[in-house]
């Protein structure tokens, strides 16, 4: 009998993947740790549509009239805010979780199109700094590799409070990826399972964070912007407190955001969808009179220009991509199907970033695997992808009559589902009904 045989009925509660997970847990005695991001079905940007212009709005000519894409990030306090050509940035991903080649490729691709990339939970590598025109330096709870020289080389500082894949959780890098170089950068013994703290070592709460940010600004002579990154959960309050703490920029990472290694139960059951989080953050910024003064970067499941445009219409100043950037470099590409099959997976399903055996040479520290990724070729692919996303976003913005991506607004959107209408706070298509609106 096959699964299609009549008379077979699969349980909606104990589905095959649930059964497989129970078997796996019973065999190993450890929870599942994996990479990638949430795989469950969630309300997302596909549940929104743009209202293109017709009689009541003028569209812009697609190939003749300009639609600008630049963005300034961090002009609240910093002497040198970032001026990016496109509002699509590369999210923080560590050297350690990623190969040096992948980090270099991200820097090359981002620089080619005039946007920024970001370090991660392992410090700054020379490859990344050398190839990144705009590099954001993360200050994480672990402080691995943190030092004042790299801090001063950065174009912005991002204080990471949380991550969409695991708000309330710390970083994780399993022993197989702690090579000599990674161990040295993180001051850790080689081969151990590295489990980062979830709270910062030298501050607790927004009052302390205000002073911590003051210190970072003093050390860098108030030159570079300070971002605060939050995982989407109590987004309204966290945004308020981030502004109060002195952030120039808030990075909001929804639960579809990726991770290099996290417990499956954390990835799938903590946080809120990006779609639901953006309006909460924008509401907080508006109430404080800081919308557009403190810029909002949104990440977590951004895949294409439509997602970019919808995020910006909801009030974001820019977006950030992580998983999508790795896919652009070649992650989950069918050309590695044989390798994936040997690991019991397949192209399109591979999520064992924690394992360090990525056949695409991206989420690995194995020199032979990492050498499969040519940073120049990878950088070019990422640049192509970023250009496509930008063109797509421009296409949609022009259709709505906007001469700048920042001119997109919630009024340009409707929702396909009641859930998306309630979360995004835009009307259900064909109605003027926004569920929950006061």
């Amino acid at each position: 009998m096959t699964k299609e045989s009549p008379g077979l009925r699969e349980s909606a509660t104990f589905t095959r993947d649930v059964i497989a997970e129970i078997h796996r847990a019973a065999e190993t005695g450890i929870y599942d740790i994996r990479g990638f991001g949430a795989k469950r079905v969630l309300p997302n940007f596909d549940d929104l549509l743009f209202l293109g212009a017709s009689m009541s709005r003028y569209p812009l000519e697609g190939y003749r009239e300009r639609c600008e894409t630049d963005v300034v990030l961090g002009n609240r306090f910093a002497k040198n805010p970032l001026h990016l050509d496109i509002p699509i940035t590369i999210a923080g991903m560590s050297f350690g979780s990623l190969s040096a080649q992948a980090k270099e490729a991200l820097g090359r691709g981002a620089s080619e199109v005039g946007t920024s990339t970001t370090t991660g939970d392992g410090g700054m590598t020379p490859e990344e700094r050398g190839q990144s025109k705009h590099l954001v330096y993360q200050c994480l709870p672990s402080r691995y590799g943190m030092n004042p020289d790299d801090l001063r080389k950065a174009d912005a500082i991002e204080v990471v409070l949380g991550q969409g894949a695991k708000p309330g959780g710390g970083g994780m890098l399993l022993g197989q990826k702690i090579t000599d170089r990674v161990a040295k950068m993180r001051t850790l013994p080689k081969g151990i399972d590295q489990r980062s703290a979830c709270r910062h070592p030298d501050w607790t709460g927004p009052d302390d964070l205000t002073i911590k940010i003051q210190e970072l600004r003093e050390i860098t002579d108030w030159k570079v912007p300070v971002y605060i990154k939050i995982g989407a959960s109590r987004t309204y309050f966290d945004t308020m407190l981030a502004v109060k703490s002195g952030a120039d920029v808030i990075v909001l990472d929804g639960m579809q955001g990726g991770t290099a290694a996290t417990q499956e139960v954390f990835i799938e059951h903590v946080g809120i969808p990006t779609l639901a989080a953006v309006p909460q953050a924008v509401e907080a910024l508006n109430e404080l009179g800081m919308h557009r003064n403190v810029q909002l970067i949104v990440s977590g499941g951004i895949r294409n220009g439509a997602d970019v445009a919808k995020c910006m219409a909801l009030g974001a100043d820019a977006v950030s991509i992580g998983t999508a950037a790795l896919i652009a470099l070649g992650c989950n590409h069918p050309k590695w199907q044989t390798d994936y099959e040997e690991m019991g997976t397949a192209a399109g399903y591979y999520d064992d970033y924690q394992d360090g055996r990525d056949p695409a040479g991206i989420s690995t520290q194995d020199p032979e695997l990492a050498a499969r990724l040519d940073p120049v070729v990878g950088g070019r692919k990422l640049a192509n992808y970023l250009r496509v996303m930008t063109l797509e976003a421009q296409t949609l913005a022009r259709a709505c009559g906007k001469s700048h991506l920042h001119n997109l607004e919630p009024e340009d959107l409707v929702a396909l589902t009641i859930e998306a209408a309630a979360m995004a706070r835009v009307p259900l298509a064909g109605t003027n009904w926004i569920p929950g609106a006061k």
Binding site: R143, I192, I219
Partner: protein
């Protein structure tokens, strides 16, 4: 060179200190610090800085090369992420003293509060008094010397840092154990006490370190987390 913080801002003080480099030597005196935050942070010059009074949070944060003395108490995170040099606190220190410091030495002549040496990455810390709870949490490298007592959960989730305590330890954190004091440890401790100017007998200390049982996840150890 004197900076009176009644008339000069913290920004002006730090900028002047940042404008100094390898070729700069000499003394800088900071008057009327009055608990200001982020004093003398981010220095990278072989200078002496004397802060005449109490300092706030993150005093001498990320210090390189400088020898900083605080003639008073300090707030949270003194010498956090220090890379080299010396920071000496004549009074007491608040939480997270020497947090994540990579190099240099931090001497606290009084007591230090909770989380002293948290995530330490290679620096030395000598506390002539006692330290609070959760000190040396996840400390990765470096040495912590405590001439008084240590609070609860000392060295929880410790990596390769070494801890020497002369007095009582309220309790040890996960994976932290007492270890034998060999000659190399006695010599190491003697040197640290001398540098700090602490008058104590190395033989009276107990050494603590990681049992290394939690370095790689084992299901049978899951109750330790």
């Amino acid at each position: 060179m004197d900076f009176d913080l009644k008339t000069v801002s913290v920004r002006d003080l730090n900028q002047a200190l940042h404008d100094m480099d390898e070729t700069t030597t000499g003394e800088v005196t900071v008057l009327n610090p009055d608990g200001c935050h982020a004093l003398a942070c981010g220095i990278d010059a072989p200078i002496n800085v004397n802060i005449k009074g109490h300092a706030g949070y993150y005093c001498s944060g990320m210090n390189k090369q400088a020898r900083v003395t605080i003639y008073g108490n300090v707030g949270v995170g003194v010498a956090e992420n220090m890379m080299s040099g010396t920071v000496r606190v004549k009074g007491n220190a608040s939480q997270s003293a020497g947090a994540t410091a990579h190099g240099g030495i931090l001497v606290i002549e009084g007591d230090a509060a909770a989380r002293c040496g948290v995530s330490l990455k290679g620096a030395d810390i000598v506390v002539k008094g006692s330290i609070g709870h959760m000190s040396a949490f996840m400390a990765q490298a470096g040495r912590i010397v405590v001439c008084g007592d240590a609070g609860a959960d000392l060295g929880d989730s410790l990596y390769e840092a070494r801890i020497y305590v002369k007095g009582k330890v309220a309790s040890l954190g996960s994976d932290c154990v007492a270890k034998e004091m060999c000659n190399e440890h006695l010599a190491e401790l003697k040197g640290l006490l001398e540098v700090a100017g602490a008058d104590a007998d190395p033989a009276a200390f107990t050494r603590y370190g990681s049992a290394r049982e939690l370095y790689n996840f084992k299901i049978d150890k899951s109750s330790a987390y």
